[in-house]
């Protein structure tokens, strides 16, 4: 959120577990089909949704499937029939679902999924990092990362509008950190139902299975068409970017909270810029505040949109920095840098005045990310920048 929360907001806020708030947002969006399989730490979202359906607060078909592969298959069927469709998963559940994610995107079905980010085993681990999200980076879905409970709620509501935009028609993943966001009780403003209904009218589409107007979905794409089909999907995903910002802007007009694809925090005159995604961004902001108070020229850039990558917005956000510290919450095994850093380094290759850049990997498998990590990172990236040394990723907080 670019604007700080005003007192009037705090008066309307209620204390709510973020998982439950997301389920409430799905209710406000009037989803028609929910198909999901419970997995930690996503469980509270789908438990609460099943309650809302069971007690009649949400008029939807809740499909209690036997696996995540079936969950996504059911979502694909429901969305293909023209229903507003939601699901949620984490980690191993995502891996079991992965096969079908690629089908949802090529069929251009506007399914919305909350991915409660959790490390991929092994060793077996239920805690937070981004290795699940990164494992499906190329599945063709729009992917955003939430920083706060409020943002998770707002993004969930906006996601249906973005996904269902006739100029977009793509599935969308809202990433939110497991436990460190999903299980926090914090102030959340739930928008008024009538306002949400005006912002997000019922989903109407001609792009659906209808026995009166038969069409084929999911036909074979042989060598004579596969390349063109993949290009069409890439163009659709890349072309969604301005429409995503437009929905963010429309949301701001109705609800007063303005979001951007890439957010900057105290980057004016910053020599060193940290780059983050997800809920560690708030802790990073406080660390930046403390470093600024100590006279250090430090700023923060947060990626809200991950796919399509906001290339121009990101370049503009980091322009002028001497040192970039790009933070990853996942590793690429067998490669010198993590997934976010790898992409950013590739983008910067064409810049005339490239900053020094080092990749820092932290917060794996639920390891806590305190403010001190960011202070260490800033010190270290300056040191490496000054020495002109360029190494591989550095792990922060690792026990030797």
């Amino acid at each position: 959120m670019s604007a700080p929360k005003g007192k009037s907001d705090s008066a309307r806020a209620i204390g709510l577990e973020v998982s439950l708030a997301i389920a409430e947002a799905v209710k406000l969006a009037e989803a028609e089909v929910v198909a999901a399989y419970p997995i930690t730490p996503q469980t509270h979202i789908v438990e609460h949704l099943s309650e809302l359906v069971a007690n009649g607060e949400l008029t939807a078909e809740y499909v209690p499937v036997e696996s995540e592969q079936s969950a996504m298959s059911a979502c694909i069927g429901a969305a293909a029939a023209g229903a507003r469709t939601f699901t949620s998963t984490s980690s191993q559940g995502l891996l079991l679902m992965a096969e079908m994610l690629y089908i949802a995107s090529i069929l251009r079905l506007p399914i919305v999924m909350a991915m409660v980010n959790r490390a991929i085993s092994g060793p077996i681990n239920i805690w937070n990092d981004h290795s699940d999200a990164m494992s499906v980076r190329d599945c063709g879905w729009i992917q955003v990362f939430a920083e706060t409970g409020q943002e998770a709620v707002d993004l969930t509501i906006m996601s249906f509008r973005i996904a269902e935009d006739p100029g977009v028609l793509l599935p969308l993943i809202v990433n939110l950190d497991g436990f460190t966001l999903s299980h926090f009780i914090e102030p959340v403003i739930l928008p008024e139902a009538a306002e949400v209904r005006r912002f997000l009218p019922p989903y109407e589409t001609a792009h659906k299975l209808d026995i009166q107007n038969p069409l084929s979905l999911g036909a074979l794409g042989g060598p004579e068409i596969y390349t063109e089909a993949r290009r069409a999907l890439d163009l659709a995903l890349t072309g969604a970017k301005p429409r995503i910002q437009r929905v963010f802007d429309d949301f701001a007009k109705v609800f007063g909270r303005q979001y951007k694809l890439v957010e900057t925090y105290r980057t004016e005159g910053a020599e060193t810029i940290l780059v983050t995604m997800g809920s560690i961004s708030e802790t990073a902001m406080t660390a930046v505040d403390e470093m600024r108070e100590a006279g250090q020229k430090v700023g923060l850039v947060r990626l809200r949109l991950w796919r399509p990558f906001p290339v121009e917005e990101f370049r503009a956000a980091v322009a002028g920095a001497k040192n970039l510290a790009v933070i990853d919450r996942a590793m690429i095994l067998g490669f010198p840098e993590g997934p976010v850093a790898t992409e950013i380094r590739a983008l910067l290759y064409h810049e005339k005045n490239r900053p020094h850049m080092t990749n820092f990997i932290l917060g794996l498998g639920g390891r806590d990310v305190p403010r001190s990590h960011f202070k260490h990172i800033v010190e270290r990236v300056r040191e490496l920048g000054a020495s002109g040394r360029q190494g591989r990723y550095e792990l922060v907080g690792v026990l030797e």
Binding site: S10, G15, T180, L181, F184, E186, P187, E282, R371
Partner: protein
């Protein structure tokens, strides 16, 4: 900003305490966050929960490393966990114990201010169950000045329903009246 760390055992309501305190504070127009030290839940195992309450938005999600207040729901935890770890010099320990503060201070070497309350007795009298969390919420609220009985009434009613909420509110109020930090 006030930062609180709760120590209890799985099933005693440490996590619920932190949650209800956060909800009471937010309902009272403040900013707050509550979260457990996440892990597989096991009844009886040591559990930690965290709470932050502030007049301004809270922009931090790290664990609480230097609490202003430590709340101990189960006295036996003190034998296995250093409950005053990181506690600020001007901080306070709020402990469920029938023993006087001076005796605990001698046994465990606590240096900061302390408030002890026989929460087990109050819980048995008011709730007819050895569940001390709402009693300890009352003691915490008084000692740290973070909530009034009026502010917790709503969250308690939502959580415990019409049958149990009045009993829990009475348990809260008794501790709120009795608790006093010393030392």
């Amino acid at each position: 900003m006030i930062e609180v760390r709760f120590h209890g055992r799985g099933g005693q309501g440490a996590v619920t305490s932190a949650e209800l305190m956060a909800r009471a504070a937010i309902g009272g127009g403040k900013y707050a966050q509550a979260f457990p030290s996440f892990g597989p839940e096991r009844r009886g195992a040591p559990v930690t929960a965290f709470l932050r309450i502030s007049e301004t938005p809270i922009k931090v999600r790290e664990k609480v490393y230097a609490p202003d207040v430590v709340v101990v729901l189960d006295p036996s935890i003190m034998n296995v966990t250093k409950v005053d770890a990181g506690l600020k010099d001007g901080g306070v320990l709020v402990i469920n114990s029938a023993k006087p503060a001076a005796e605990l201070r001698k046994s465990f070497g606590f240096k900061q201010k302390m408030a002890t309350i026989d929460a087990l007795r109050i819980a048995l009298e008011e709730l007819e169950a050895p569940i001390t969390n709402t009693v300890m919420m009352g003691a915490l609220s008084k000692v740290a000045q973070v909530a009034t009985p009026e502010q917790v009434r709503g969250p308690l009613e939502e959580r415990f329903g019409p049958g149990l909420a009045p009993k829990n509110l009475r348990a809260f109020e008794r501790a709120y009246e009795a608790a006093k930090a010393e030392g």
